[in-house]
């Protein structure tokens, strides 16, 4: 097998003519021995003119002030290469150009020494680099100045970047969290969902938002609504996940204010009915006390009167207590286990003043419904049920039947509030949950009732559905059962 040998001369010419740099070969006197094609093209020079000239004769005058001549002499004298130096010059009428150059010593024929000068015009390259850097800075500043939390992780869920909004919201700096698992910063039980999303990284859907409360430095947590998107590599493979989160603290505060406003509006509606609920037992107590005063001598009647006085006062104070509990502002973040039948009874007590004469109430409670507990905020759920009952009563101005149903389906409590009114027309059905939508001229109602009810139920992790026909309308509320729903029955068994 024959081995091809390199023809040094032709190799040299091949390199000289194809290399995209300008190359000059100089002798000891700094006179040009040869230049390559690229140099001729760039300098628009002529090889016959250039060969034998001194460097300063072929370079523009601006180069004469540079250290180039001296550096070439140093390289020739010391035999040491100079790498990647930069020089900038501005020719008249031309924008500033920047060159990168290296000078390497050469051994010429007959023992004389020379140097090779390799130059590249890096002006465009530098500008490009500068632009890339500026773009990166710009992107970084967008991420940094964003009001939303922006967190990126690798495909295993380890945090890579954490913007200042994330730091501000949680009190944890990027330095502290980098490399750690994102799931550690999400409250239980939602942290399981975070872990699951990395296992199913290919299925991440960026159109869906999820609500995962986030842990803060002090141990408290904040509500955050997240959108997830996959970062992909060149082959489309998932390389990580970007989490963009909206801090819901302020939104929640606004919603709480709105809920409070709606509660007071609902109270304004039903206050007459509540007054009736209080004044009736007060009337009984008062009459009983007056009778006692008149007939102090008859002990058997006295006993009965005392009983009526106490029972009447108890009944009235129960109404006042539920009124106060209802009116009290409370953030939705603090859910407790609430007795659903209690909510339905309170709501009916509040709303029944709006029932037209001839309205009956039909309860359909599944066995054990008295001990059915939901996870929620009592007075907000009461507001939801009051709104639905008020709507039901107003749909039946000539009387009818209010149907109250309660049952449990797996992990959900299902409440049904039905009326025997004329039903909701198809044209209105899609709008009933819109704010301010109302068909009533009743100035006492804001038109917010159903929209607020809908938002409250959704925040409870539930949903509201409606069935309607010409024979009536039924609203179906689904909310999660209390997290420790089983505790009560276990306690009963133990006692």
């Amino acid at each position: 097998m024959s081995v091809a040998t390199l023809d040094h001369e032709s190799f040299f010419h091949a390199v000289m003519s194809t290399i995209p740099s300008s190359i000059l070969i100089l002798d000891e006197r700094l006179a040009v021995l040869t230049v390559n094609h690229n140099f001729l093209e760039k300098s628009r020079g002529n090889l016959n003119y250039i060969v034998g000239r001194k460097l300063h004769e072929i370079f523009p005058p601006a180069f004469q002030d540079t250290a180039l001549d001296q550096q070439i002499r140093d390289v020739i004298n010391t035999g040491r290469t100079i790498h990647r130096q930069r020089l900038t010059y501005r020719a008249p009428g031309v924008s500033l150009r920047t060159y990168s150059y290296s000078i390497c010593p050469l051994q010429l024929h007959h023992g004389s020494r020379g140097a090779i000068l390799v130059m590249d015009d890096v002006t465009d390259l530098l500008r490009l680099g500068e632009e890339v850097r500026r773009m990166q800075l710009h992107l970084a500043s967008i991420v940094e100045s964003a009001g939303d939390l922006i967190i990126s992780t690798d495909r295993a869920g380890a945090i890579m970047t954490w913007n200042s909004a994330a730091a501000k919201a949680t009190g944890l700096t990027e330095f502290e969290v980098q490399g750690g698992k994102l799931a550690h910063h999400i409250e239980e039980p939602q942290n399981k969902e975070v872990e699951a999303c990395f296992r199913g990284i290919e299925e991440i859907d960026d159109r869906r938002s999820v609500e995962w409360p986030m842990k803060c430095r002090g141990g408290e947590s904040i509500p955050v609504s997240w959108r997830l998107s996959r970062m992909t590599g060149q082959q489309g493979e998932a390389t990580g996940v970007v989490f963009v989160g909206r801090n819901l603290v302020e939104q929640r505060a606004m919603e709480a204010q709105m809920h409070q406003g709606e509660k007071l509006a609902a109270l304004g509606m039903v206050i007459g009915g509540i007054a009736h609920e209080i004044r009736n037992p007060l009337g009984v107590s008062s009459a009983a006390a007056q009778l006692m005063k008149q007939r102090i001598a008859k002990p058997e009647l006295l006993e009965e009167c005392i009983g009526k006085v106490i029972a009447g006062i108890d009944r009235a104070s129960l109404v006042v207590e539920s009124l106060l509990r209802f009116a009290r502002p409370k953030p939705i973040a603090e859910t407790t286990r609430v007795n659903v039948v209690g909510i339905l009874k309170n709501a009916l007590m509040f709303a029944s003043g709006e029932a037209a004469a001839g309205t009956s109430v039909e309860w359909t409670l599944e066995t054990g419904a008295d001990n059915l507990f939901a996870e929620g905020v009592q007075n907000l759920l009461e507001l939801v049920v009051i709104n639905l009952m008020l709507n039901a009563f107003q749909a039946m101005p000539g009387g009818g039947r209010l149907a109250i149903g309660l049952r449990r389906d797996a992990a959900e409590v299902i409440i049904e509030i039905g009326d025997t009114g004329p039903g909701i027309p198809d044209a209105h059905l899609s709008k009933i949950f819109d704010p301010f939508f109302t068909t009533r001229s009743d100035s006492r109602r804001s038109g917010l009732g159903l929209s607020v009810s809908h938002s409250i139920v959704r925040q409870h992790g539930g949903r509201v559905d409606v069935r309607t026909s010409r024979n009536g309308t039924t609203f179906v509320i689904r909310i999660p059962v209390a997290r420790d729903a089983g505790v009560e029955s276990r306690l009963v068994e133990a006692s």
């Binding site: 007459g272 009915g273 007054a275 009736h276 609920e277 209080i278 004044r279 009736n280 037992p281 007060l282 009337g283 009984v284 107590s285 008062s286 009459a287 009983a288 007056q290 009778l291 008149q294 009167c305 009526k308 029972a311 009447g312 003043g353 004469a357 001839g358 309205t359 009956s360 009387g399």
Partner: protein
């Protein structure tokens, strides 16, 4: 104030209220008059008993489960034009427009807000109510 021994005490009184304790209270309040008190809990049963027998005086709650108190009063009036009817309510106040108007047009013969004074119940049964007096038939 009229005394409980007033000879104009009615022989019988009808009480219409769906709250049994309230009926008990009114029965107790009227006991000193020595008259028979019949209590019913709905508009329908009130119409039934009034159709059956005449009551010189009736106390009617403004909110009844099956019909509006005001409507019941109108129907009772149609049955027994001479019956004196006093409305009682925890829902309205004495100076509510609807009540003032009903008293002015003699749709009702008197109004008492809950909680009430026993003396006022007695006075109303005897024909003194809200400064207005209709002679007991």
């Amino acid at each position: 104030m009229p005394q409980t021994s007033t000879p104009t005490a009615p022989e019988s009184v009808l009480v219409v209220d769906d709250d049994q304790d309230m009926c008990w209270a009114l029965e107790g309040a009227l006991a000193s008059l020595g008259c028979a008190v019949t209590s019913v809990g709905s508009g329908g049963s009130a119409i039934a008993v009034v159709t059956e027998s005449a009551f010189p005086v009736a106390f009617v709650d403004a909110r009844l489960p099956d019909m509006d108190g005001m409507r019941l009063i109108a129907e009772l009036r149609a049955l027994r034009p001479s019956m004196r009817i006093i409305m009682i309510s925890g829902y309205f106040l004495e100076d509510d427009v609807r009540i003032l108007e009903a008293v002015r047009t003699a749709a009702i013969d008197g109004f008492l807000a809950k909680p009430f004074q026993i003396d006022a119940i007695v006075a109303a049964a005897l024909g003194y109510a809200n400064g207005r007096r209709r002679p007991t038939p």
